[in-house]
Symmetry: C3
């Protein structure tokens, strides 16, 4: 199965040459590769955010797509680099937990540790495995190299521990797990946990948010809580930046009191 696309997701930004070098390496090996940028402005070295990014993006791609992920604070350590088949998607990424959420939703089919250096650049730096290992491996896969040629099979991914929400008869207690560009606070409370509530309140950072079906059902400047496009509860400031207004950070408690 040859990958129809190679997507790129990094925390490299676009001011420096890192992404461009990876593109050049891939195209030098397979000039017919179809490259696709998913995002290069991920917060530097933030594996948790990258895990949410991938969970929100990768499942929408056609089966067999190949996704290269470089958010890699452990570059140069003995952390493994992986080829992973999760559902029908294929990924190349460091084994640092970045695939945790995607594994939950798609399931693991096959894992290999990248070990066969014949698929790498001749000269592997200690600081840029995206260019020197992941990019050339992606290009070789797109040319038909079989995953089992890349290195030994693995049975388990490294997993991040994500905080679980707690629900009892009286209340639901969760926390902010991610913050997006608009300042929306994504919580770890899935829509399923509040399916019996038609309207409710949420407490966060000393403020109270009212549940609404959509951003636009709020008054300008009102703090609201709604089901986000990823199926998790989200606290949002209508026409404003909620994270800035509340000085909220990842980990801030979000409580749905009893009704």
């Amino acid at each position: 199965m040859t990958a129809p696309f190679i997507t790129l997701t990094t925390d490299f930004g676009e001011a420096d040459s890192y992404v461009a070098a990876m593109k050049g390496v891939i195209l030098s090996i397979n000039p017919a590769a179809r490259l696709m940028d998913l995002g290069h402005q991920l917060p530097p070295q933030d594996v948790v955010h990258a895990a949410f990014f991938l969970a929100g993006a990768v499942p929408y791609f056609p089966p067999g797509s190949l996704h290269v992920v470089v958010v890699d604070p452990g570059v140069g350590t003995d952390r493994a680099l992986l080829y992973a088949e999760l559902g029908a998607q294929r990924l190349l990424a460091p084994d640092n937990g970045v695939l945790t959420l995607l594994e939950r939703s798609l399931g693991v089919r096959r894992l290999f540790r990248l070990a066969e250096s014949r698929f790498w650049r001749a000269d592997v730096s200690r600081t840029f495995h995206g260019r020197d290992i992941l990019a050339p491996v992606a290009a070789h896969l797109s040319l038909g190299v079989r995953p089992e040629e890349l290195g030994p099979a693995l049975t388990e991914l490294h997993r991040l521990k994500f905080p679980e929400p707690r629900a009892d008869a009286a209340s639901v207690r969760g926390e902010v797990v991610d913050i997006d560009r608009f300042g929306n606070l994504i919580t770890n409370i899935p829509a399923s946990l509040i399916s019996e509530r038609t309207s409710f309140l949420a407490e966060v950072c000393g403020r109270t948010a009212r549940s609404v079906p959509a951003y636009a059902d709020a008054s300008p400047g009102e703090l609201v809580v709604l089901v986000s496009s990823s199926g998790l509860l989200e606290v949002a400031l209508n026409q404003g930046n909620g994270a800035r207004e509340l000085a909220a950070k990842r980990g801030a408690a979000v409580i749905l009191p009893s009704q």
Copy 2:
């Protein structure tokens, strides 16, 4: 007529998965679609800036190009989503005024309101119509679906009111309507209004700018006024950021006194 390209313009940034999800949705429906990023760093929910962006970008594309625009502060309200043929360009966008300037320069040929949900994702969220409606509709259009299948015809676009410059024998009075990355202040004064002046002065934020043919005709640090690449007068600080230096905002008056 099948679109040769699908371009994407959003205010989603590239730190979050929103743009990537849209790409995945399009490619899952039409793996042969040729995607093109126009820009994803548009200021959040700034429909006015987006209108200028489109006016400066879309007319340069080949006839029949399809442009998906998601700057959509009204997502989840009853604002319409549109298919619009403006000149030889085709756009999918919320009906919130974002097409106002493009309509002025290209003219409207056909408008349809997106209503046929068989071209949408099965599960439409209240917060992310870019992924759930616009992306799949774009993909179906690229596969040959005819625009009139998408929903009922409309006769009018929602239009933004832009301030008009005022000119009399003595002076021209306009204002700053947009600010670009370099801190250049784009005004609403078209070059045609100053065609009789070979050299002139402009007053803005208590400062005076001298007219020059090009940035480089100014001294370093000098405030100048010139005809921008979009045909509007622009105030610029040579080798610096004019908007920051003048603390200028959209709406600031720009006056060309009598000579």
Copy 3:
């Protein structure tokens, strides 16, 4: 020789329509052109950083790739616009020194000054030669126009003066020449100058950095010095932003004392 790819590198950002307009112009002339973004977030008008960007990106591309570069503070002056063949790479760029480092590593084969306006847009602005000259010339080259048709041959590129490191028996003295997104300080000291040292110290901004093979060999928050992916010494703060912590700027001295 027809270019398989046209890459785009600019300091335009992605909030404004400038990059998009260039893409439209290219595709209107050659709808089959394969466009590739290298980076559009280069610091505005920073020719030195752009020179490092190109040196770190362009050599990885397949022979015959065509790279359009718009970091052009001198637009509108009499600075030339160039077609340059450096090694097997082809570039279109202003003659402002942006190719200095790439010329050093790849060597010059041919240079032409863009002068034949029949390959330009009919209406050339004084402020946006990327759209009006470079983009259409790139498109025409991708359709088979020969470089010698573009204008007269040149013999020399404009070159930036880069500070050279000084080494004697006792010490090596260099300086910070570039700073990347992670706050890593790139110096002008090549790995070859320290090949005899297995471990060493570096002094920068009143602080001392210890040499390590990779970022991950440092303790969290430790300041270290290592060979970067470009072969130059680099000072980095492990899991932090070194430039911010040290308030370091381009030009800051970096000294490797005698051992």
